[in-house]
């Protein structure tokens, strides 16, 4: 690690889904976190339309870079490197960010670091709580992914412990909110109603928690169906749906499984730190239950503020700065976007450089390939 006067100043670009994010960090200090989102353009389609997202990234990129530089009060000339999400994510959307990062790094004469979106979600916590403990267990939960990852060095070693085999946790929140007519996005509104409800009112199923089920994988599809059926049965019987109790009981089922499995993974692996990231990390019950269970198990919990949990450029810059600090090989000018970049590749080093670990590109994925995104 460089000394405090010489921490790497890195600009990070994130375009894996619908947020155009540009962040600037100095080592583990956040200087700027500029975001442009195309979320409203996708709303009428019911999901992120890749071509709409890609078009929006192209329009937003230059103004967002300018905004980040202004916010950070630094000159592009002073940067020590440019980092960019190389994958996983939407191929066309990623390519816009990668093209911008390559051109920017080349024009400024700075090294380029193509990095992994999931490793960035973990590394962002350095901006909030200082250097990551090694090893760190990370629970990433959002509208696009639900994964349990173990990292002994965020620049070179990220090991998938488990992942969702069907829906992402955030997806389940959105769908249940829709069934309850609570609007979008589902996470915050369910959280709000749940506070006034009884989490033990209805016993909704805990997916993949049987003795023979995989210890660290998740499943939320069965829960989703079960909650929807319960609501429909009430409606069919002409009874009022107890929205607060349903929200509380559903939410409890999700966060119970997430925290139970995360804590178990920490214990099994002898890890005394748990990091939680992704948009669902904003959920107050998830934070509270994780805190409670971690305390009981002697595990220290680290959860960044909500704005750093959702997709942003600062997380990419944070991982880029770590790559610079640890002398990882920069990427080549041939760097391409890889929509299915394996979680085990924290970055995409250039050919002809030596680097700390093997990165055979065998595309060994998490259990659920479809949920690697966002």
């Amino acid at each position: 690690m460089a000394d405090s006067k010489d921490v790497p100043l890195v600009l990070g670009i994130e375009t894996s889904c619908d947020e155009t994010g540009v962040g600037i960090v100095a080592g583990t200090t956040l200087l700027a976190d500029a975001i442009a989102s195309s979320v409203d353009e996708h709303a009428r389609f019911g999901g992120v339309v890749p071509e709409v997202a890609s078009r929006a990234h192209l329009e937003a990129m230059v103004p967002t870079i300018e905004r980040a530089l202004k916010e950070a009060g630094v000159s592009a000339r002073d940067l020590d490197g440019i980092a960019v999400t190389a994958g996983p994510g939407l191929a066309g959307a990623l390519l816009v960010g990668v093209s911008a990062a390559k051109a920017y790094a080349y024009a400024l004469g700075k090294p380029l670091y193509g990095v992994n979106h999931l490793a960035s979600h973990i590394c962002v916590d350095q901006l909030e709580h200082g250097p990551l403990p090694e090893p760190t267990m990370a629970l990433l939960v959002s509208g696009g992914h639900s994964s349990l990852l173990l990292s002994s060095d965020i620049t070179s070693d990220v090991r998938p412990m488990g992942a969702t085999i069907d829906d992402a946790a955030g997806e389940a929140f959105d769908k249940i909110a829709r069934v309850l007519n609570l609007g979008f996005p589902g996470g915050p509104v369910i959280d709000r109603y749940a506070k006034e409800g009884d989490p033990r009112a209805i016993a909704f199923p805990r997916g993949l928690t049987g003795p023979r089920d995989p210890a660290y994988d998740f499943s939320f599809s069965g829960l989703k169906t079960s909650v929807a059926r319960w609501i429909e049965a009430k409606r069919a019987a002409g009874e009022e749906v107890p929205v607060r109790d349903v929200a509380a009981s559903f939410q409890e089922a999700v966060v119970d499984v997430l925290t139970r499995k995360a804590v178990r993974a920490c214990k099994d692996e002898g890890v005394d730190h748990l990091m939680i990231g992704g948009g669902v990390a904003a959920n107050t019950r998830l934070r509270a239950l994780a805190q409670e269970r971690c305390e009981a198990a002697g595990i220290r919990l680290r959860v960044p503020r909500p704005k750093l949990c959702t997709d942003n450029g600062a997380m990419v810059a944070a991982l880029g700065a770590e790559m610079v600090a640890r002398n990882r090989a920069p990427s080549d000018w041939e760097l391409s976007a890889d929509s299915s970049l394996p979680v085990t590749d924290p970055h995409v080093p250039g050919h002809g450089h030596s680097h700390g670990h093997s990165h055979s590109h065998d595309h060994v994925h998490e259990v659920s390939k479809g949920n690697l995104y966002t």
Binding site: L58, S99, K102, A103, G144, R178, S336, A337, T374
Partner: protein, 218 residues
């Protein structure tokens, strides 16, 4: 004057340097699937061949399409970002105009057509190599047969559909050298070139892939 020109709106990844009088160095590779990988190394090669660096460039010229979107954006995003980093102007040139210019047709009228995939072509009519007389559009060849009947046609889109374009000829793809020469000529004549915004000509497919972030109407 030193113009860096690039175009990724056709299967060609093409880069050229132009000093205001002539093309200094150029590179063209045809690989429709690897625009993102090939463009930056090509820029680096062209600059090295000319014995100069990017900071000597006084303006960027980029093909704004029409062209298949994913590849088209690589060139536009690269040009935009060069402009930001270098503080130089970025000029847009219609990719079909570059092809028309390279075709060196003195006596018109003629047609330029590129492959728009999905059995369609991007096309426009020209009265000579420097003068486009219709807005670029995207159509099925059979639907424009009447409008292009009897006219010579240039470009891969024309070569693909001989029934509509019996008098088709090359060049197949645009070259940045032609794009740069055309831009240099127009700039010298005091013509203002358009801002580099993509010519998509089609609305995005509203297809939401499975397992991506769910967004529902408010």
């Amino acid at each position: 004057m030193l113009l860096l020109a690039l175009d990724t709106a056709t299967p060609a990844v093409t880069v050229a340097l132009h000093d205001g009088t002539a093309v200094v160095a150029a590179s063209s590779q045809v690989d429709a699937r690897r625009h993102g990988e090939l463009l930056l190394p090509a820029v680096d090669r062209v600059l090295a061949e000319a014995g100069t660096g990017l900071d000597a460039v006084t303006g960027v010229v980029v093909g704004i399409g029409p062209g298949p979107y994913t590849g088209l954006r690589v060139g536009l995003m690269t040009a935009d970002t060069f402009g930001l980093a270098l503080g130089v102007p970025v000029h847009g040139v219609c990719t079909l105009d570059g092809l028309a210019y390279a075709a060196e047709v003195d006596e018109g009228p003629f047609v330029v057509a590129t492959d728009a995939r999905r059995k369609e072509v991007y096309w426009a009519r020209y009265s000579d190599s420097r003068t486009r007389v219709t807005e670029p559009s995207v159509d099925r060849p059979a639907d424009i047969a009447d409008q292009v009947a009897g006219l010579p046609a240039v470009g891969a889109g024309a070569l693909l559909y001989p029934e509509t374009f019996p008098e088709a000829r090359g060049p197949e793809h645009v070259s940045a050298a032609a794009l740069a020469a055309l831009a240099a000529e127009r700039l010298a004549a005091g013509v203002e070139l358009p801002v580099p915004r993509p010519l998509y000509l089609r609305r995005p497919d509203a297809q939401v892939p499975k397992n991506y972030k769910v967004v529902t109407p408010k």
